[in-house]
Amino acid sequence: MANKNSSPAKFLSALFGGAGRRREQRAANEDFGNQMDAWEDTKMKNPYAGVKNPYANMENVYEDQTVDLKAAEFAKEQSQQSAANIMQNLKGAAGGSGVAGLAQVLANQGAQQAKGAAADIGRQEKANQARAMGESSRLQTMDREGEQKRDMLVREGDRMTEQFDLDKQSKMLDISQQRKMASDQAIDNANAQMDQFVTGAVTSGLGAAMSDIRLKENINKTGISKSGIPIYTFNYRGDDQVWSGTMAQDLLSMGRGDAVTTTSSGYYGVYYSMLDVDMVEKNK
């Protein structure tokens, strides 16, 4: 319909063809994204990680497991690669639908995984797990008192690190939720435009509405649009549905031939989207 609020002119403005606008938006987002990436990469180290037990000179047999994050990270990457290989092999060998479905999801994850090699909280939990295992065996061989003090300091440091990670994650989530809300608002706006736009009439963009005076009867003039186009009520011959709209012949005589077309049947049609007149159904 040609209603300004429901015009197709507004319909795809949020998305389609908005390349320039989105480029501007992305440029602004890029700087923000870089800062976010830098922030994401920020790590807090345990300030007590290097504290040693002064009461015992015993070697911690699990030290490598608990503090060698680089090795753990590398191992995780290796293992992810190996998981992908396992899936690939199984898919090729068995061709089962379960493996195929799993491989599909893993493939979807692939692009995102490349962005973040290690997961902060995952690493933290793995460190906790290794520490718990180490704790069980150390208690049997090390001086309890000194080890306990040392351990408490390390735990305090770990908690501080963990809290830092959680706070960071929380802030990032807040930001992402704000973005989501802005995105939802944009969708709501677009949907509102869509609701106005969908009228189901022939004029909705598929073609021009048949507005030839020769096809109409019971024509009554009801007003004039702001641009001076006469508005009528009428019904099509053989159909008692009453419509409000304009006449192609009027437009031609006013020099508005740009909004008139000749249909395949030889009758005139009108592009209402180019006029400040609506073609609307009147109550029967």
Partner: protein, 278 residues
């Protein structure tokens, strides 16, 4: 992924303006087909009007209206696809990894065809990677779409809650982890996202495959237990265990699952043995 780039590039440079019609946004080849159908219907409508055949004219008018509204719906779906694919504010992809987008990706980048059945309902089709034709009706296109919601935020809030309580008191957690995990997973099919998306920095499926690599390869975990649908918490507790354990660990860093306890016991036994030998 290459497909992602292709789709984003398409929507970035989409050749349709603000006044684009619902018949033209799927490519020239489809516009020709649609116009052929519409012009034929309009011609028949005109003839019926001239012949004063009210019933027939109404029939054709309804058909045109129907076709128009269906194509408008399709236009709406294409817009929704673009937004969910990262064309919206912030450029975040909102589709869950759970969604198989192979059909939508091809069709909405003009690599598909629109046809009409005998009732003038549009039938959309693409040619798949293996050369097979995949056809869908408009109402089926969005049926399997899974869009990410607040799953990660819900989980992180619970995890932070547990963490805070762990720091501040000697009391047990003030909420039931298993009950809340259950609710969180089953709420509006959120489990689909929990299975396949990054939650709190980790992918469940990756962890699962990694931890069970041997059992998967040996066939101990069967094919039907690997399909993403098999993790539906209504029938299976693997997803529940994973997330409930993560919450329990947030509250108690020393919490061990059964398998972790077994591993620890093994290490202790090995250590004791080495000490005895020394």
């Amino acid at each position: 992924m290459a497909e992602d780039k292709h789709v984003k590039k398409y929507f970035e440079n989409i050749p349709y303006g603000n006044d684009s019609k619902s018949s033209e946004i799927h490519g020239k080849h489809n516009q020709v087909v649609i116009n052929k159908f519409v012009s034929s219907l309009v011609r028949k409508y005109d003839e019926a009007v001239l012949n004063k055949d009210k019933q027939m004219a109404g029939h054709f008018k309804d058909a045109i209206k129907k076709m128009s509204s269906q194509l408008d719906n399709l236009k709406n779906i294409k817009e929704e696809f673009a937004v969910n694919y990262g064309g919206g504010v912030g450029g975040k992809k909102l589709f869950s990894n759970y969604t198989d987008l192979s059909f939508s990706r091809a069709f909405f980048t003009e690599q598909g065809d629109i046809g009409f059945d005998k009732d003038l309902n549009p039938v959309l089709s693409i040619v798949g990677e293996g050369g097979e034709v995949v056809a869908k009706r408009i109402e089926d296109v969005t049926q399997d779409w899974v869009v990410k919601g607040t799953e990660e935020a819900n989980f992180m809030k619970m995890q932070q809650d547990a963490q805070k309580q762990s720091n501040s008191s000697d009391q047990p957690l003030d909420f039931d982890v298993d009950w809340h995990t259950d609710t969180m997973l089953s709420n509006e099919d959120a489990w689909k996202s929990f299975v396949s998306d990054k939650i709190g920095g980790r992918y469940f499926l990756n962890d699962y495959v990694e931890e069970n690599a041997e059992a998967i390869q040996s066939g101990q975990i069967t094919d039907d237990m690997l399909h993403p649908d098999s993790f539906n918490p209504a029938f299976d507790n693997r997803l529940h265990s994973h997330y409930a354990n993560r919450l329990k660990k947030s509250f108690d860093p020393d919490f061990q699952t059964e398998s972790e306890a077994r591993k620890a016991d093994g290490l202790i036994a090995k250590n004791n043995k080495e000490n005895n030998q020394a």
